[in-house]
Symmetry: C2
Subunit: 109 residues, 2 copies
Amino acid sequence: MTRKADLLPGTLDMLILKTLKRAPLHGYGIAFSIKTLSHDVLTVEEGSLYPALQRLLLQGWVKAEWKMTETNRRARYYRLTAAGRKQLSHELSQFDEIIAAITRVLQNA
Amino acid sequence: MTRKADLLPGTLDMLILKTLKRAPLHGYGIAFSIKTLSHDVLTVEEGSLYPALQRLLLQGWVKAEWKMTETNRRARYYRLTAAGRKQLSHELSQFDEIIAAITRVLQNA
DNA sequence: CTTTCACCAATAGAGTATCTATGGATAGAC
DNA sequence: GTCTATCCATAGATACTCTATTGGTGAAAG
């Protein structure tokens, strides 16, 4: 009935961009990083991740490049562009604002 | 483009339930309360609110009753049921967990 | 007395984000 | 040689929210 909620809708792009800010990474690595850092609370399904990466490419917020991984595999590395960096900071501050607002409602309601 | 984001998807039910926990209220009052408490950051559009209330009714988390307001108007008052109270506490703890997880990712990524 | 504003309800249709399910493919371990 | 972990990606369904609209009433202002 209620949403399954592996993550909060609307936050995926932000999480991906933030992950890529540290270093360029391939899809699988992005998902793994988010899952690990969140202590397995946030699971990014591949069916969510790759469409999201396509969106980010279209927006020009990331660029992609085929490379070899350390384990000798072909992988598509995504890296943040300047526009992506700007977008990330925008999404971060907006997220903060919304969370603060929700917190106010939850405390006073 | 990016989502307009009057609020975070997935949080509306929780905000409504929490608002009704304080006291039964009609739709207009719920929207007004959320908007006011959030300092105008969160705006619940009527096209989001009423479908959400229908969902909550169907789930049995709220009950509705027609009454007169203090200003002598017909209004449909919604109040939290026992099941709704339980659902609310579930959603609250899940929300906390997800926010904590997102925060971890944002700080370490 | 009539006009306007704040109050109050609800639905249809569109758009967007995410999930489920699926289909490949390869490196290295055992 | 088979299994597991690593890697990519799409199609279709589902769920949630927004835009836009319709419809109505009480009360205060003019």
